[in-house]
Structure formats: structure tokens, C-alpha cells
């Protein structure tokens, strides 16, 4: 039996409490086991069927600010624990992006919070459920 290796870990964050716990878990794991850690933030969709281009621009600007700050904070938390963190921000549908990204970048473990902060998580099943269902590698869902 091939032993599992967690050398290239991906943690998905979105600013929710669950995502923060997932990041804490990922940092603890890397502290103990070593390996590389990448933090991925998925910039959700822009408002569909907007009435003014301004609405789209402002939402994009808000999202950019929010996610830039989020990734900066994550990098800061990692640096405090002596861990070098790669960060990336990708637009799109969260579950799809996370699973595709993990496969494309050869990640061998995905860590994700139990629930994000979007209504869709409550109505349609959480992003974590869909990632766990579709991922090519083991997934830790942090409660």
C-alpha cells in the first residue's frame, strides 16, 4: 500500500470563520509534517445582469480589496509561525475552482472549512461537500 504524503497542501479561504479554522489547521499540519502550503481564495461571481457597468466595477473593486487583504493576513499568520505561504486568487465558482486548481497544481491534500459565508452554502449544500465529492486527493473538512 502506497503511504499518503502531504507535501503539497492546499487550503481554501473565503474570510469566513470556518475558513480561518481551516487555515489554522493547515498551518499546524505543516508545522508538524513540513511540506509546502498554498492558500487559495476564490473570487466569486460578479453581479449578473447588472444595470450599470459601475455596479460591476465597484463590486470588483470591493472584492479585490477584500481578497488582497485576506491573503495578506493569511501570509502574515503563516510568517509568524515561520511558514512560507504561497497565495493565489482565482475567479470563478468556488467548488470547481478548488478541485481543478488542486489537480492542476499537483496538491496532495485539500483543507477546507465546513461552511463558507454564502447563502448558496446553506441552500445548495456546502462548497466543502462538493470539493470532498469531486477532489482527486484527500480532503480535510474542518469544523
Amino acid at each position: 500500500m502506497t503511504p499518503y504524503r502531504f507535501d503539497n497542501v492546499l487550503v481554501a479561504i473565503d474570510g469566513s470563520e470556518g475558513a480561518q479554522r481551516a487555515l489554522d489547521c493547515a498551518l499546524s499540519l505543516i508545522e508538524r509534517l513540513g511540506g509546502e502550503l498554498t492558500t487559495l481564495a476564490v473570487e466569486g461571481k460578479l453581479p449578473a445582469y447588472a444595470a450599470t457597468a459601475g455596479e460591476v466595477d465597484e463590486v470588483r473593486r470591493e472584492k479585490d480589496r477584500f481578497f488582497d487583504q485576506l491573503l495578506e493576513q493569511a501570509a502574515g499568520q503563516a510568517a509568524e509561525r515561520g511558514i512560507t505561504l504561497r497565495t493565489d486568487l482565482v475567479p470563478g465558482h468556488a467548488a470547481e475552482v478548488i478541485t481543478h486548481y488542486a489537480k492542476a497544481h499537483g496538491h496532495d491534500l485539500i483543507i477546507i472549512g465546513h461552511r463558507g459565508h454564502f447563502l448558496g452554502d446553506y441552500l445548495l449544500g456546502s462548497t466543502a461537500d462538493r470539493v470532498a465529492h469531486n477532489a482527486h486527493c484527500p480532503v480535510i473538512v474542518v469544523r
Partner: protein, 396 residues
């Protein structure tokens, strides 16, 4: 229900709409329109309260100004010929077909048919822009072409509204003089005025813009004209200034989105009778076809010529509509040209045209953005593809 009670109810609906917009990832305008339909059909809310009509009318002029200010003049110049060709065909085709269908088949009055033609010939720059930005295509050649063509269609709509439905009187020359004077003066005055009085919480720069727009509305009313065209051109001539001072534009948008445009879209929804829509599903389908068939049939050949590999994507995005369609329909309703049933049908078609062609274009015809960037850089030697911005905080 008195004015204050109505305002309180609508304010609550506006808040709820904003929350739903954030949670569902849909445009707040579309949600406000939909919530207006729900509220108007469930409760006895008066869509014709004086204060609501006043705010909605001003909001439509502010929306038109914002639409003009969102155009990038440099992008437009880059593909002028193709933009004008596609944009004009996109307006004229549905304008003629929808007008003839409304008059000849549905028996609408000539003026009501012209409103139908105007409302259904529009294209939504904002709907298109969201798709292009999300896919990263806004910086590519095809993206710029589609946005410029949308601008031409918007401009044609503004001209149609300003030219067809006016009954010029002795005040009309004054309306023209004031319009031209503001269009010439504001871009020249703005840098000095904004520099001296701007960047304050009391927002003199927004007040200046509002004063100009109110001045246009006053003289347009006196002249039996319509302020939509000068407001659009005023926005257009201010576009470059706002591009250099994005914070000013952001503040103007904040005021517009927080207080003005919600009442415009809510009022649009409040006037929609769901009963009238469901009782006339056949007419609804006919009007929808009157918009889509000429758009698809006439734009496709031009799109094949200018962007052969993405003709379907371009054609579908040029078939969208929302803001100018709503503005045209509300204008017809306010002026007594169309009745509530006709308004309900037109608004429903406008909203459907925002959703259906966009969804089809995104799902089946969306171009590969990386391939487009490579193709653009191959066409322009020395131009490197724009890399995705690296977020702050990224570490090697």
C-alpha cells in the same frame, strides 16, 4: 398608505433587495425590479406617488449620465467602423421589426409601437460588461468591440427617445442652448471645480453634476423635450475626467445606488401586472421574438465579418437589454403612451433578454480568454499578453 408609510415599506424592500443581491450574486437592479413586481402585486403600493415618480425620473437621468460616463472613448476609437456597423444594426433591426409587430399585428397605437421599438432595440452595456470582466475578455479586442457597439446602440436609443416623442415648443431652442452649453462647459469647469471644492464629505462635485442634470430636466420639460440624450452625452464628455479621478465616480455611484436607482427599478417593478403578463403569454413570446430574431439575424452576418471566430458570442451579447429598455418603457408609461399591460409585457421581455442570451453566450459560446490575448498580441507586435494581477501578499 401615506407617503411616509410607502417610503418606509419601499426602504425595507430596498434593504432586502441589497441583501439578496449579495447572497445570490445577482445585480441589485434586477432584484429591485423583481421585488417591485412582488410587492406591487401582493400589496396595495402606489407606484404613482408624486415623490416616487420624481425620484424615479431623476434616477433615470442619473443612470443615463452614468451610462455615458462609463464609456471608454479610446476603446471606442480603436474599432470605430465595426462598432458603428454592429451597434447601428443592433438598434435599427429590432426597432423596425418590434415597431411593425406592435402596430401591425398587435394593433398598438403608432406612438406605443415606437416605444416598443425603442425599448426592445436596446442593448445592455452593463450586462455585457459583467460577462466580459468576469471572463477577462474586457481587455481583449473582441471585448472592446462588443462594448463599443453597445455604446452605439445606447446612443441610438437616447437619440430615438429624444427625437421621436418630443413636441417642440418655443422653449426648445433654449433647451438646445442649455444642453450644448453644459456639454461644452462641464468638462472644462470640472477639473477646477472638483480640485477646489472636491474631496469633502459635503460632496460639492456630486451636487454640481446633479444641478446640471436638474437644469437639463427643467428646460427639457419646458420645451416638451427629453433630457436623456444631453444627459448621456454629458456623461460621455465627462468619461475621461472620471477615468482620471475614479474616486469621484465611485462617490457618485454610491449616492446613485444608495438612494436614487433603487426607487427607479422598484417603481418599474411596481407597475408590472403579473396578471397581464400571464394573460398575454402569446404576445410576450411574439415581442420577445421581435427583439431577438432581428438582432440575431442582422448582427450575425456583420459579426461573422468582423469577428468570425466569435460571431455567435458577439451576436448574443448584443441581444441583451436592461437599463435603457426599462428607461424607455417607463418613459412611455409616464407619458401615457403605453398602458400597464403594454408596460408589463415590455419590461418582462427586457428582463428576459437580459438573462436568456447572456446565459446561452456564457454557457456555449464563451471564447478562451488566453487564446484571445495571444491572438491580440500576435496582431500587435510588441504587445505582451496582460498577465493576471498578482494579489498583494503573494510570496515567492
Amino acid at each position: 398608505m401615506d407617503s411616509t408609510q410607502l417610503a418606509a415599506v419601499l426602504a425595507a424592500v430596498v434593504v432586502l433587495s441589497s441583501m439578496l443581491s449579495v447572497e445570490l450574486g445577482l445585480s441589485v437592479a434586477l432584484i429591485e425590479l423583481a421585488m417591485g413586481v412582488v410587492a406591487g402585486n401582493l400589496f396595495n403600493l402606489d407606484p404613482n406617488a408624486d415623490w416616487l415618480v420624481f425620484i424615479a425620473s431623476f434616477a433615470s437621468i442619473v443612470l443615463t449620465f452614468l451610462a455615458g460616463a462609463e464609456v471608454d472613448p479610446d476603446d471606442f476609437r480603436e474599432r470605430f467602423g465595426a462598432s458603428v456597423g454592429i451597434g447601428l444594426v443592433s438598434f435599427v433591426g429590432p426597432f423596425v421589426v418590434a415597431g411593425l409587430v406592435a402596430h401591425g399585428i398587435l394593433g398598438w397605437t403608432t406612438k406605443a409601437s415606437l416605444i416598443a421599438g425603442t425599448a426592445l432595440s436596446t442593448t445592455s452595456l452593463a450586462v455585457v460588461y459583467a460577462v466580459l470582466v468576469e471572463t477577462g475578455l474586457n481587455s481583449t479586442r473582441i471585448g472592446k468591440l462588443i462594448m463599443s457597439a453597445c455604446f452605439v446602440t445606447d446612443m441610438a436609443t437616447a437619440i430615438a427617445l429624444s427625437a421621436i416623442f418630443i413636441k417642440p415648443n418655443s422653449w426648445y431652442p433654449l433647451f438646445l442652448v442649455v444642453s450644448v452649453a453644459l456639454i461644452l462647459a462641464l468638462p472644462k469647469v470640472a477639473p477646477w471645480f472638483f480640485g477646489r471644492y472636491g474631496n469633502r464629505v459635503i460632496e460639492p462635485e456630486i451636487k454640481l453634476v446633479f444641478a446640471c442634470l436638474f437644469a437639463l430636466m427643467v428646460v427639457a420639460d419646458a420645451a416638451n423635450g427629453h433630457a436623456v440624450l444631453p444627459a448621456f452625452v454629458l456623461g460621455l464628455v465627462m468619461a475621461r475626467h472620471y477615468r482620471q479621478h475614479p474616486l469621484e465616480q465611485e462617490r457618485l455611484r454610491v449616492v446613485a445606488f444608495a438612494f436614487l436607482t433603487p426607487f427607479f427599478f422598484l417603481r418599474g417593478g411596481l407597475n408590472v401586472s403579473l396578471g397581464a403578463v400571464f394573460a398575454n403569454l402569446g404576445i410576450l413570446a411574439l415581442l420577445f421574438a421581435a427583439k431577438l430574431v432581428p438582432k440575431l439575424g442582422l448582427i450575425m452576418p456583420l459579426a461573422r465579418r468582423y469577428v468570425p471566430e466569435h460571431a455567435a458570442f458577439t451576436t448574443l451579447l448584443m441581444s441583451t437589454g436592461l437599463t435603457f429598455g426599462t428607461i424607455s418603457s417607463l418613459y412611455g408609461l409616464n407619458a401615457g403612451i403605453i398602458d400597464t399591460t403594454q408596460f408589463s409585457l415590455l419590461i418582462t421581455v427586457v428582463v428576459l433578454s437580459a438573462i436568456i442570451p447572456t446565459a446561452i453566450a456564457q454557457h456555449w459560446f464563451s471564447p478562451d480568454v488566453e487564446a484571445e490575448r495571444e491572438a491580440d498580441s500576435a496582431r500587435t507586435p510588441g504587445l505582451r499578453p496582460t498577465p493576471r494581477p498578482i494579489p498583494a501578499g503573494e510570496q515567492a
